[in-house]
């Protein structure tokens, strides 16, 4: 048994070693090509993300939506669904949260509004995901295109709201809606901009996802139907029903992420409220090899890259999209390293 474990650990370690060697090599070459000193860029990425408590808090701000969306994607990926629409589901969550806070705050206590917003955000997220699910099961539209189309529609909806019915008094601008009253913000740790409530709920939802996947009939059914829809049908499991269920669970998670973006981070609705975290979480789950264990760590690492790269344009005069390039290379290198090992094994 010990020998077996050692072998597995070695396999995982060697896979990650190969991945990171490729990432460092390619990124260094890229930086050299643009005339940027690589070491300085790396130091800036590390210092910019882990250099102070304040910065770590900001990394956690990114970690929250990434982890939530990745959890949601675990459901859809286990059904072999490409839920690219998760980005739009985050946006709809944000819209739902904003709507409730806007409509209810004149009449009800702030805590009640926040709870109502939480529920409505998850509801809208799930609804948006269900649209894509129904288009897939009943309309025969591939979930990639249904989800993607709905992402663009969600973006249009947010812009319309910001420039139309929810515009700031006097001027409508890309800076978003009027910020909410302080009482409608999720409470944060003193001087740090991170909400312990958001953090706690994310951890709880992550654990819940793991439990559902590992220990419940649902989790088992997801895998069974995802792996073989026809066999699933033979056992009386309807692939369509499980597709819709997986989609709505993903939508709930994404809606929750949207809620935290509004109540915990921006305190209003802005055009880029989803900050591409939905798309990014697809990369997180791929890099995690569709398993739950590595997700929190990868989400944290990606958060570090995103937060650290904000300094790049200011100090090194290079574009902050370097973080996205590194994330992409990570996933590609991992996919190749993983495949390489499988091939050598087989």
């Amino acid at each position: 048994m010990g020998h077996e474990l050692k072998k597995r650990l070695f396999a995982v370690a060697s896979r990650w070693f190969v991945t990171f060697s490729i990432v460092i090599l390619l990124t260094t070459l890229l930086l050299l090509a643009t005339g940027t000193p690589p070491l300085e860029a790396y130091l800036l990425l590390i210092k910019g993300s882990l250099g102070s408590w304040n910065k770590i808090a900001r990394v956690l701000q990114v970690w929250i939506p990434l982890t939530l969306c990745s959890c949601g994607l675990l459901y859809t990926f286990s059904m072999k669904l490409w839920n690219i629409g998760i980005e739009g589901q985050v946006m709809l969550g944000a819209v739902g949260a904003t709507a409730m806070l806007k409509w209810l705050s004149p009449y009800f206590a702030p805590s009640l509004c926040l709870i109502a917003a939480f529920v409505f955000a998850m509801f809208l997220g799930a609804l948006w995901a269900l649209f894509a699910g129904i288009l897939k099961t009943k309309g025969g539209v591939n979930e990639i295109f249904a989800g993607l189309g709905l992402n663009f529609v969600a973006q249009g909806l947010i812009l319309w709201l910001i420039f139309g019915p929810w515009k700031r008094p006097g001027i409508a601008s890309m800076s978003g809606t009027e910020p909410f009253d302080y009482s409608l913000w999720l409470p944060t740790l003193q001087s740090l901009r991170i909400s312990p409530i958001a953090l706690a709920i994310t951890v709880i939802l992550f654990i819940a996802t793991v439990i559902i996947h590992k220990y419940t009939r649902w989790g088992l059914f997801f895998r069974a139907v995802g792996n073989n829809p026809t066999a699933g049908t033979l056992f009386g499991l309807s692939p369509q029903r499980y597709t819709l269920l997986a989609m709505s669970l993903a939508g709930i998670m994404a809606g929750c992420a949207g809620y935290f973006q509004v109540t915990g981070v921006y305190h209003r609705l802005i055009p880029s409220i989803s900050s591409n975290y939905g798309y990014l979480s697809l990369l997180v789950v791929m890099l995690a090899n569709y398993k739950w264990k590595p997700i929190p760590f990868i989400a944290f690492f990606f958060g570090c890259l995103n937060v650290g790269s904000i300094q790049l344009p200011l100090i090194l005069k290079i574009d902050s999209s370097l973080s996205g390039v590194i994330q992409g290379i990570c996933v590609l290198a991992f996919l190749c390293a993983y495949r390489w090992r499988l091939r050598n094994k087989g």
Binding site: F145, L150, F152, F163, V325, C336
Partner: protein, 326 residues
Amino acid sequence: MMDFSLSILMASVVSGAAPLVFATLGETFTERVGIINLSLDGTILLSAMVSFAVAYETQNLMCGFLAGGIVGALVATIVAFTSLFWGLSQVAVGFVLTLMCKDLAYFLGNSYTRIQGPQLSHLPLPFLEKIPVIGNILFQHNIMVYLSYACIIATWFYFYRTNWGLKLRSIGENPRAAYTRGFSVRKIQFGYTILGGFLVGIAGALYSLSVKPGWGRPQGAEGIGWIALAIVIFGGWDPLKVAFGAYFFGFLQIMGVVFQSWWPSIPAQVFQVAPFPLMIFILVLIHLSRRKAVNEWLEAHPLLRPLVRFLQVNPPASLGKTYHKE
């Protein structure tokens, strides 16, 4: 906008859709041979950036277009190589490349942001431009627009009138049978994926050198790659229908601009997303048109039959499934 004339409108549809024509035809080649290159959105942006940079540095548009095409071919090579020879999922690799190429374009193109560079000039075709109405719409553009017409016809001819086209289609439908006939399936798939990528790269170059000249963040071609992928489905993997889809989408985009001048209070982005739900709607129609009940209903409504026949399509049977020889 009350005085807009129809021929000017149609002419701008034709020139605005030219990059889409290249991109969709490129993807048609790729998908017809059985491979999905999902990286279009990123590829278009990266090749737009590279071709602008190259054209700016060399002050030569030809070099710019060539560079754009090569970038597209290189990205397609990654998709083809990892899937055909390493067995990775085409969708997964394509999706990662979509995001990565986009960021790579912003990262590498940082120093070329918002500068004046060379752009394609108009080249009205003598005699042909004099034809009433059609001359105005079709023959007062730049050379790449004319090449896009040629590309449509050439692709159609290649697919349905040559032996190579037959071979291409047979591999997309049944790679195993093609293999037993002695075709080197993987090599052919590899080749056409690269050719498809090259055309997609040309589309990117057309954006930064003609349709939306220059480079910046955002460039204005974001999201187009996804549209192109949807158009290939809409067009049923048939070059003529696919080209029609590209022009149809170009028309919708122009109408967005027209509508915006009618309702200026609604932000432009709202009109820009309008074609997406329409695309979904059409994809649903395509699906429904295959239903038996719909077909029976059609027997009673002969007038609608051609429209539904137009929408009834089947994807290449082996699309997205990598063929491994036994």
